[in-house]
């Protein structure tokens, strides 16, 4: 090796950076999130859309709701099963999903998602 020391140090740093997730995660529990439904949500059984869609794209719907409500003044959403919902984060969504820490924040914190819902909307008060 020519300049072997320098090359090997560089190599160790470079490879170490690539392998850092292995080292970082080794010591942590890294539990998957566990969003809890409130009693009311459990009783209702259905959300405005199927569970899989809500898990993947709920914010897309929220954005559409915001858009249509704020810009177009359409206040009602017809679900796939024909049920009509009032388009409102605070009145409709948070009515069932009233526990932000145990529901919203579970996945949002796990994936470092910082939605700006709460810049304008008031987060529901939580019963301790």
């Amino acid at each position: 090796m020519y300049d072997g020391g320098k090359i090997i140090v560089g190599l160790i740093i470079g490879i170490g950076l690539f392998l850092s997730p292995f080292i970082y995660n080794a010591g942590t529990a890294a539990k998957p999130p566990d969003p809890q439904l409130t009693k009311k949500a459990k009783e209702a059984k259905v959300c405005v859309a199927p569970k899989a869609y809500m898990r993947e794209s709920h914010f897309k719907m929220l954005d559409e709701w915001r858009h249509t409500v704020v810009r177009d003044g359409e206040r009602y959403y017809k679900a796939a099963d024909g049920k009509i919902y009032y388009k409102s984060l605070q009145v409709t969504c948070l009515d069932c999903h009233s526990d932000k820490t145990k529901f919203c924040d579970q996945c949002h914190n796990y994936l470092s998602v910082n939605p700006y819902c709460w810049d304008c909307h008031i987060a529901p008060e939580e019963k301790k």
Binding site: I15, F18, P21, Y24, D63, N109
Partner: protein
């Protein structure tokens, strides 16, 4: 290979790369293969491949310094020298390397040959060409930011720098633009910049005749691969959503050596992952190794000290030599006898007689 063939060949290769996981997961449901086995194999190839190549480069002899510089060498104190472009010690080399690695300084000096006609007379011009440098810089930094942003899937809890990058990258809040459906608050700048830059890097190979002539499938293939990696990523983020909570469970499982394959992750994720696996597997065998190679560029990382430090060529054959002194010692008596002049003549001879 002519350029149409090269382009067709690499496009087909990328198409196959996209189709393999599409069929493998979409139709045959081989989730463990595509979600665990192939990523591990790809990562191992990537790491081992880089180590082997860098060690191989490290074994190559560096007989002397190659002073391809753009500055005056250090000679006398009253001649102004350029300590960064033509460094005589380690300090200057470090600065030169930092400029090279962080700002692509050599690429900034890129010029392009162009013919033009002035008053009907053909002339050669060397154009001041900065688009390649700009696109390369945008591409590499965007790729870095995107890679670091992905650490939100790699690490639990998510480290602070990722959150910071996300907020900086998405600070324009382009998702609030008035289109339905593209409705994500955090539309990232780097996503768009990366796609634009890679598209330009590909287009310049097709549009400029000189570069078209030089381009091979090995040039088109990684660009197309990165383009498809970006496309699937953007699709996944903005349009064909997947359940990213489950994606993170899978990824963390890989990093904790306790792989889990949760159900219900869309095929697009496996396509994205497989393209990445192909990219990093291909990495150590391809020009993409410039990632490590830039640190080992002999014209950049060696100080120009040829004139005051002796560099012995490491592959020199150990020459057997017989100096004149030794020759004289051997034949002194005979030389004196026939009257040839000798360096250490009489004295040594007298000493010899005394003995």
């Amino acid at each position: 290979m002519n350029f149409v063939l090269s382009l067709v060949f690499s496009s087909l290769a990328v198409l196959v790369v996209v189709l393999i996981p599409w069929i493998g997961v979409g139709a045959l449901n081989l989730k463990i293969l595509f979600g665990v086995v192939i990523p591990y194999a790809a990562l191992a190839t990537f790491i081992v491949g880089i180590i082997v190549r860098v060690l191989d480069w490290g074994r190559s002899p560096v007989p002397y310094r190659i002073p391809t510089t753009a500055g005056q060498m250090w000679s006398f104190p009253w001649i102004k020298s350029n300590p960064i472009d033509n460094p005589k010690g380690t300090g200057g080399v470090v600065v030169r390397m930092l400029f090279e690695v962080l700002t692509f300084r050599s690429l900034f000096r890129n010029t392009r040959l162009e013919y033009s006609k002035v008053d009907g007379v053909p002339r050669i011009n060397y154009e001041w060409e900065k688009w390649l440098w700009l696109a390369a810089l945008l591409f590499h930094y965007s790729f870095l930011v995107i890679f670091l942003r992905h650490f939100r899937f790699f690490m639990e809890p998510v480290p602070g720098f990722v959150t910071l990058l996300e907020s900086l990258d998405g600070f324009l809040q382009m998702g609030a633009a008035p289109f339905n459906g593209f409705g994500l608050p955090g539309v990232y700048l780097t996503d768009m910049l990366l796609m634009a830059a890679v598209t330009w890097l590909l287009l310049r190979r097709i549009l400029y005749s000189q570069i078209r002539y030089l381009s091979l499938p090995a040039d088109y293939f990684p660009l197309l691969l990165i383009l498809s990696l970006g496309t699937t990523g953007i699709l996944m983020r903005y349009l064909l959503r997947v359940d990213i909570t489950k994606v993170k469970e899978l990824v963390i499982g890989i990093f904790k050596f306790s792989p889990v394959v949760p159900d219900g992750i869309g095929v697009i994720f496996y396509i994205h992952l497989f393209i990445l696996c192909v990219l990093i597997t291909y990495f150590p065998f391809s020009k993409l190794m410039h990632f490590a190679g830039i640190f080992l560029s002999p014209t950049r990382n060696l100080s120009n000290n040829n004139r005051f430090v002796r560099h012995v060529n490491p592959w020199n054959y150990p020459v057997k030599f017989h100096t004149y002194e030794e020759y004289e010692d051997e034949f002194r008596d005979a030389m004196i006898e026939v009257g040839l002049p000798v360096d250490k003549g009489a004295k040594t001879a007298e000493e010899g007689e005394k003995e």
